[in-house]
């Protein structure tokens, strides 16, 4: 049963979830770790994902030259979406020819 307001993550959002599962990162670290994310779009995507409830953020540096920098982590909702995506991958993404009778 899928909730009415449940929104599936897009491909790029899934790439972000993949990076964030099990660890906290800030945007620049995500850019270095993934080739799929662009500098221009990363914070727009992260903001959208936060609004959807897939991730949450908190301010990492309260003072200093980088005061206000946020660090991101996955929420329970995001982990469930990621888990569902992995199950779907396992169920449907098999090489052509495999399973043919």
């Amino acid at each position: 049963m899928v909730a009415k307001d449940f929104k599936l993550p897009t491909g790029t959002e899934m790439a972000v979830l993949e990076l964030l599962v099990g660890k906290e990162m800030h945007g620049a670290e995500m850019l270095k770790a993934s080739g799929r994310l662009s500098r221009a779009a990363i914070y727009v995507i992260l903001n959208r994902m936060e609004e959807k409830g897939f991730i949450s953020s908190r301010v990492k540096d309260e003072s200093g030259p980088l005061a206000g920098r946020r660090i991101y982590c996955v929420t329970g909702h995001g982990q469930r979406a990621y888990g569902a995506w992995q199950h779907a991958q396992a169920a449907f993404a098999f090489p052509l020819g495999e399973g043919a009778v």
Partner: protein, 158 residues
């Protein structure tokens, strides 16, 4: 002889002269020409008083020195104007989560390049950063408009 440490975050563009105000006459006495290194050794007997405390010298350093070529002594970090505009135009959430983060990334990379004495790379970081930022504005405004249209369509559809 005392050692003065440059205040954190201060960028000196040119050779400057440290001057200390004479307590009695109110005049500024040039003490030492300094470059943009981090620490300076200063002979306190070079001043008329010879009794200047470390704290006073530090304050004098922070406030009273002037560059020889009248270039700004303390440079604002890049992106200040952009942040001011974004803070004025955008909601607090979008400002903090999108534009501030993007500018902080640019600043971090810019200062890394500067501290490695790679000024060309620093300039390139700024150019690339501002181009990316322009594209970020387009994406942010575009996705905001699309989501509003979708919500309005869903609302009118019942």
């Amino acid at each position: 002889m005392i050692t003065i440490r440059k205040p954190p975050g201060m960028i000196t563009h040119a050779r400057v002269t440290l001057r200390v105000r004479d307590k009695h006459t109110g005049e500024f006495i040039p003490v030492k020409a300094i470059d943009d290194s981090d620490n300076f050794d200063l002979d306190v007997s070079a001043t008329e008083e010879g009794k200047i405390l470390r704290r006073k010298v530090f304050v004098a350093f922070a406030h009273e020195m002037e560059p020889r070529n009248k270039a700004p002594l303390i440079a604002l970090p890049p992106g200040n104007l952009v942040l001011d505009i974004a803070e004025f135009l955008c909601s607090q959430g979008v400002y903090e989560r999108v534009f501030l983060q993007a500018i902080l990334d640019i600043r971090e990379e810019y200062f890394e390049a500067l501290s490695a004495h790679r000024s060309r790379k620093a300039r390139w970081v700024l150019i690339r950063g501002y181009l990316n930022l322009a594209w970020t504005v387009v994406l942010q405004v575009g996705t905001g408009l699309i989501s509003k249209i979708v919500k309005a369509a869903a609302g009118s559809g019942g």
